[in-house]
C-alpha cells in the first residue's frame, strides 16, 4: 500500500512535465513517418520497406543494399532534399515561435518583420545586377554569390531594424515590429524593381526566390545548413527567458533576465536562421506563423516545450508540403511556397475560427 502511494505521488510529481514530453515524442514519430513516406513517393515510387532497408544499409546495420537505381534516387535526390526540408522547416517554425514571444505578439513571424523579404531582395539583386556591380569577380564567387547575398540581406535588415528601434539604449518591441513591417514593404518594393529590370532567364530564377523551392544548390548549401543548425541549437535554449519575456520586459528584468542581451541575441540568431533558410530555399511563408500556433493548441504556451515542438512541427510541415509539391503536377514540381500557402492558409483560417468560437464561450 505504501509503495503504491509513493508511486502515485512520484507520478504526480512528474505530472506537469509528462504531457508535453509525450507530445514531443509523438511528434518525433510523426516526423519520422513523414520522412519515410516522403522518401518513398515521387516520380519513381520506392516501397517504404526498400527505403528502410536502404537507410539501414547506409548506416551499416544491414549488409544488403537495394536496387542501384532506387539507391541513387534516394542518395542524390531525396535524402538531401528531405534533410533541407527538416532543417529549414525546423528553423522557420522555431524562428516564428521565438519572434512571437520576443514581440509578445501572436502574429509576429520572420516574414512580417521583413527578414525574409530582405533576404530575397539580396538574392534578387545579385541575380539581376550582380554581374554589373561585381564585374569579373561575379564569376569568381560563382554559385556562392546568391546565397551569400540573401544571407547578407537578412542580416542587414535585422541590423537596420535594431538600430532604428533603439532609443536611450533600449528597444521597444512594438516599435520594432512596426519598423519591421516598414522594412518588409520596402524590401518587397525592391524585389519588384529588380523583377521589372530582369530579363527572361533571370525571371525564372527570381520566381524561385519568391515562391520557394527545396531543390537546393548542391554543396554550396552546406555553410547555410550549418549556420541554421547552430542557430536552431542556440534558440532552443531560450525557453525559460522567453517565458519571462511574455510577462513584459520590466517583469522579465525583475526576474533576472538581461533583457537587452536577450533581445539582441535572439533577433540576431533568428536573422541568421531565416537568412540562411532563404539562401537555400527562397521565401517559404506560413511555416513560421502556423507551426507555433498549432503547437500551442496541444502543449499550451510554455516556451520550454513550444520551442522544440515548433521546430519539429515546422519540419513535419515542410516534409509533407514537399511530398505534395513533388507529386501533384508530375513530372514537374510545384514551388513549395505555393503549397504551404495553399494548404496552410485555409488550414490556419479554420484554426482561427475554431479558437474564436472557443474564446467566446
Amino acid at each position: 500500500m505504501k509503495t503504491v502511494k509513493l508511486m502515485a505521488s512520484s507520478l504526480r510529481q512528474f505530472g506537469p512535465v509528462r504531457r508535453p514530453v509525450v507530445v514531443l515524442v509523438l511528434m518525433m514519430l510523426v516526423l519520422a513517418s513523414a520522412v519515410l513516406i516522403s522518401l518513398g513517393i515521387g516520380g519513381a515510387p520506392i516501397a517504404s520497406g526498400d527505403v528502410l532497408a536502404h537507410l539501414a544499409h547506409r548506416i551499416g546495420i544491414s549488409g544488403i543494399g537495394i536496387d542501384a537505381f532506387d539507391a541513387r534516387v534516394l542518395d542524390t535526390l531525396r535524402l538531401p532534399r528531405i534533410l533541407r526540408a527538416i532543417v529549414i522547416g525546423g528553423g522557420l517554425g522555431l524562428a516564428g515561435a521565438v519572434m512571437q514571444s520576443l514581440f509578445r505578439n501572436p502574429i509576429a513571424d520572420p516574414g512580417i518583420i521583413g527578414v525574409s523579404a530582405s533576404a530575397a531582395l539580396g538574392a534578387v539583386a545579385m541575380i539581376v545586377a550582380g554581374h554589373i556591380i561585381l564585374g569579373s569577380f561575379y564569376t569568381v564567387i560563382g554559385p556562392y554569390g546568391v546565397p551569400v547575398a540573401a544571407f547578407g540581406g537578412a542580416v542587414i535588415a535585422t541590423a537596420v531594424i535594431r538600430v532604428l528601434s533603439r532609443q536611450d539604449g533600449q528597444t521597444d518591441a512594438a516599435i520594432m515590429l512596426l519598423i519591421g513591417v516598414a522594412i518588409n514593404a520596402m524590401a518587397f518594393a525592391g524585389v519588384g524593381v529588380f523583377t521589372y529590370m530582369a530579363d527572361d532567364a533571370q525571371l525564372r530564377s527570381l520566381t524561385f526566390w519568391q515562391m520557394g523551392a527545396l531543390a537546393g544548390n548542391g554543396p554550396t548549401d552546406m555553410p547555410a545548413m550549418i549556420i541554421m543548425t547552430l542557430g536552431i541549437v542556440y534558440l532552443l535554449t531560450l525557453g525559460t527567458p522567453l517565458n519571462l519575456f511574455l510577462l513584459g520586459e520590466a517583469e522579465a528584468r525583475h526576474l533576472g533576465v538581461e533583457v537587452e542581451h536577450l533581445k539582441r541575441r535572439a533577433t540576431v540568431a533568428t536573422a541568421l536562421v531565416v537568412g540562411a533558410a532563404v539562401a537555400v530555399s527562397g521565401i517559404i511563408g506560413f511555416v513560421g506563423l502556423v507551426a507555433p500556433h498549432l503547437v500551442r493548441l496541444v502543449t499550451g504556451p510554455d516556451n520550454r516545450y513550444v520551442l522544440p515542438a515548433s521546430a519539429i512541427c515546422g519540419a513535419i510541415m515542410l516534409t509533407g508540403a514537399d511530398a505534395v509539391a513533388r507529386i501533384i503536377v508530375l513530372p514537374a514540381e510545384l514551388p513549395i511556397g505555393l503549397v504551404t500557402g495553399i494548404v496552410g492558409g485555409p488550414f490556419f483560417l479554420g484554426l482561427l475560427m475554431r479558437e474564436k468560437k472557443r474564446r467566446r464561450l
Binding site: Q13, L247, H254
Partner: protein, 275 residues
C-alpha cells in the same frame, strides 16, 4: 545591510522626475511611499529595482551598487510586484506563479519549487483559480497572482517553512527586499487587508524589507513602520508613521483638507473632507 538610495535624481526628457532622493529600506521593516499622482512614486520604485538608471546618485543593495550587479543577481534577492502585467498567451495561473522561481532555476529543486508555489497560492488566496488561464482573470485576481509570483521569488531558497531538504544557497543569508507598486489597486477590501497583512508578515517574520506604494492613509498607519511622503519628485517628509502622518502635513501635500478623528476603538483615523 539594506536597500538604499543615495542622492538619487532621475531625469526623463529634460524633466526632473526625482530630485536628490535619499532613502533606506532596512530588512524587517515596512516602508510606505505616499504622495499625490505624478509625484514620482513608481519612478522611485523602478530606480530602486534597477529598472531605471539614476542620472545622479546611486542605489545600493546589500552594500553593492546595483548597476554593477547582474539582473539575475538582483532577482535572487529582490522581487517586484508590478502595477499591471499583461500576458497575451494563455498561461495557467499556477504557471505564472511558477515563473517567480526562474531566478533560482539553476539551484533549486523541483520539490522545493512546487512546495513554494503551492504555499504562495494558498497565501494569496487563489487556490480556486490555480488551474484557470491567467488572461481570463479579473484585474484584482491578476494582482493576487502577481503577489504569489513575487512571494515565491522573495522566499528564495528558504523562507516559507522549508525543511532541511532545501539546497542551501550561500546567498540566501543576505537580505531580501520586496517592492510593491500600488498593490491594493483593484482589490476588494478584504483582499486589500489580506495582502497588506502578508506584506507585513514577510517583513516582521521573515526579515524581508518591504516597500510599498499606498494611497490609503489608514492603511499606511495600520501596516507600515515608516513612511516617506513624496511630492514633485522630492521627499518632503520621512520617518516613523506616527510622526509623519499628521493632518497638517498631509493636507498641504495632497492639497485637500484632511482631519484626524478619534476612533472609538482607540487611536484615530484620517479622513479627507468632501470638497
Amino acid at each position: 545591510m539594506s536597500l538604499m538610495a543615495k542622492d538619487v535624481s532621475f531625469v526623463a526628457r529634460g524633466r526632473h522626475l526625482l530630485r536628490d532622493i535619499s532613502l533606506a529600506l532596512a530588512p524587517g521593516e515596512v516602508l510606505a511611499i505616499l504622495g499625490p499622482n505624478g509625484a514620482g512614486k513608481s519612478t522611485l520604485l523602478r530606480v530602486l529595482a534597477g529598472e531605471y538608471q539614476p542620472a545622479k546618485g546611486c542605489v545600493m543593495q546589500n552594500g553593492q551598487d546595483i548597476s554593477s550587479l547582474s539582473a539575475l543577481n538582483l532577482a535572487q534577492r529582490r522581487a517586484v510586484m508590478p502595477q499591471a502585467a499583461s500576458m497575451t498567451f494563455p498561461f495557467g495561473v499556477r504557471d505564472v506563479v511558477a515563473l517567480g522561481r526562474a531566478p533560482f532555476r539553476k539551484i533549486s529543486t523541483r520539490q522545493l519549487d512546487q512546495k513554494l508555489v503551492a504555499g504562495a497560492i494558498a497565501v494569496a488566496d487563489i487556490n480556486h483559480l490555480a488551474d484557470r488561464p491567467y488572461p481570463a482573470l479579473s484585474g484584482g485576481e491578476k494582482q493576487r497572482v502577481h503577489l504569489a509570483r513575487a512571494l515565491v521569488q522573495i522566499w528564495g531558497m528558504g523562507g516559507f517553512d522549508v525543511t532541511s531538504d532545501a539546497v542551501h544557497d550561500p546567498q540566501c543569508g543576505s537580505d531580501r527586499f520586496l517592492l510593491l507598486d500600488e498593490p491594493t489597486a483593484g482589490l476588494d477590501v478584504s483582499h486589500q487587508h489580506a495582502l497588506l497583512a502578508v506584506a507585513r508578515r514577510e517583513a516582521h517574520d521573515n526579515n524581508v524589507g518591504v516597500l510599498m506604494i499606498l494611497h490609503d492613509f489608514n492603511q499606511v498607519t495600520a501596516y507600515a513602520d515608516r513612511v516617506a511622503v513624496l511630492q514633485s519628485g522630492e521627499i518632503v517628509a520621512q520617518g516613523e508613521v506616527a510622526d509623519v502622518m499628521q493632518p497638517d502635513l498631509l493636507s498641504a501635500v495632497f492639497k485637500s483638507p484632511i482631519r484626524a478623528i478619534d476612533d472609538p476603538k482607540g487611536g484615530h483615523v484620517l479622513v479627507s473632507q468632501a470638497v
